[in-house]
């Protein structure tokens, strides 16, 4: 068991890029190993790191890997701007700075003994994948696992091979949909909230964890509430501009909450009244 040194939350630690794999035309998964083996890689599902590309910039990226693996950190990054472009174009063997992990993660402990409903849209599946790993590796500790995932089109879906594998796990249901099916897609075509009716949710036993575009999350929450889930059993991951990740720069404030330290995962009850406040 490697010794985890006290990390300075302000300083990036150098991590080596071990692998860069393409998930979709604009999204890549990076596997990073700490250069100094005493640097820890432990994290809670739902937490994020600040990834630094030398001389370019630093960004908050959710950790999308297996929390049981302590020798590496895995991130799925969508290239949308200069800093993300720089990250996804890192060569194997180059160094990326990592600060963290930061934030409040998914309630994997309180969900023990209950059905876990994972609902993701687009890149939102990335911060939820560690939850799926955790539940599947500790199968007896959880009830049913339902994975509901949607993307714009088949080639925009993440982790397709894993989704197929997960569908064969015990007591696990995987439902996938796309907005545009294209010519060879044989699965659902439609929006994520409409898949919920196929999930045979037992509202009293379920804990839902939702991540995706805000519009999608609002509709999903309405659908979940319509199926009888309480706001204390629905969790969502929010996103805002982040510069420091330690609650000092003020950028990530969402109402009274600092997304970097009070989130990014919130109980629906905490943020429900904020979701419909525009330009908050």
């Amino acid at each position: 068991m490697p010794v985890i040194t006290e990390f300075d939350p302000m300083l990036p630690q150098p991590f080596l890029v071990r692998e860069v794999s393409k998930e979709t035309p604009d999204t890549f998964t990076l596997r990073l190993d700490p250069e100094d083996m005493t640097t820890g890689s432990a994290f809670q599902p739902g937490q994020f790191s600040m990834l630094w590309s030398f001389g370019v910039g630093e960004l908050p990226i959710s950790i999308s890997g297996d929390p049981a693996l302590h020798d590496c950190l895995v991130y799925t990054v969508r290239s949308v701007g200069q800093a993300t472009h720089s990250l996804v174009n890192q060569k194997v063997g180059s160094s990326v700075g990592v600060r963290g992990p930061f934030g409040v993660g998914w309630p994997v402990e309180t969900a023990r003994g209950r059905d876990v409903i994972v609902i993701a849209g687009g890149i939102g599946l990335a911060p939820l994948r560690p939850v799926i790993y955790k539940v599947l590796q500790n199968r007896k500790d959880y009830g049913r696992l339902v994975i509901i995932y949607g993307g714009r089109s088949p080639r925009d879906l993440l982790y397709r091979k894993e989704l197929a594998k997960w569908a064969h796990s015990p007591e696990t249901q995987v439902l996938v949909t796309v907005d545009y099916g294209g010519l060879s897609w044989r699965g659902h075509v439609g929006v994520v909230p409409s898949l919920l009716k196929y999930s045979r949710l037992d509202s009293a036993r379920s804990v839902a964890m939702v991540c995706g575009p805000e519009i999608m999350m609002r509709f999903v929450i309405r659908e979940l509430e319509g199926q009888g889930l309480s706001r204390d059993d629905i969790y969502l991951s929010m996103e805002r501009n982040m510069k420091c990740a330690v609650g000092f720069c003020g950028h990530c404030q969402y109402g009274p909450h600092f997304i970097c330290k009070d989130g990014p995962v919130f109980r629906c009850e905490q943020v429900r009244p904020l979701l419909e406040k525009y330009e908050l």
């Binding site: 907005d179 575009p213 519009i215 319509g226 996103e239 525009y278």
Partner: protein, 153 residues
Amino acid sequence: METLERIIADHPFFAGLDGGFTNLMVSCASNVQFKAGTYIFKEGDAANSFFLIREGKVALELFPSQHKPIIVSTIGIGEILGWSWLFEPFQWKFNARAADNVRAIALDGKCLRTKCEENHDLGYEVLKRFARIIEQRLDATRLQLVDVYAVRR
């Protein structure tokens, strides 16, 4: 100046309704106006009415967390705005913004809901008409989604 009775009796949406039901509609109706740019209703608000647009255009919008709102559809003169008043949890799912100065007739959905429960014949007439509107909008939405202008490879 047209009276509410005249407007409702003449409107295609209410065509074929027997006299008693038409009177009922009139008793639940009122004239309303919205200045351009104001919101008729917002996502999350309680949905207790629907509107018959007489003048102007209404934009149905969704708000992502950044940018300006996305207009998903516009409702014009002679069209009906709003069906969430009919279905639990009676909450608007979209914003409706007056894109121009809008004049409309507002109908009291809360009152109508009760009357429809009491009188299923009335209920059927109302649902038949709304089902038609929803069918038309759904077809249109599917057509919008198909993105007919895209270059297919």
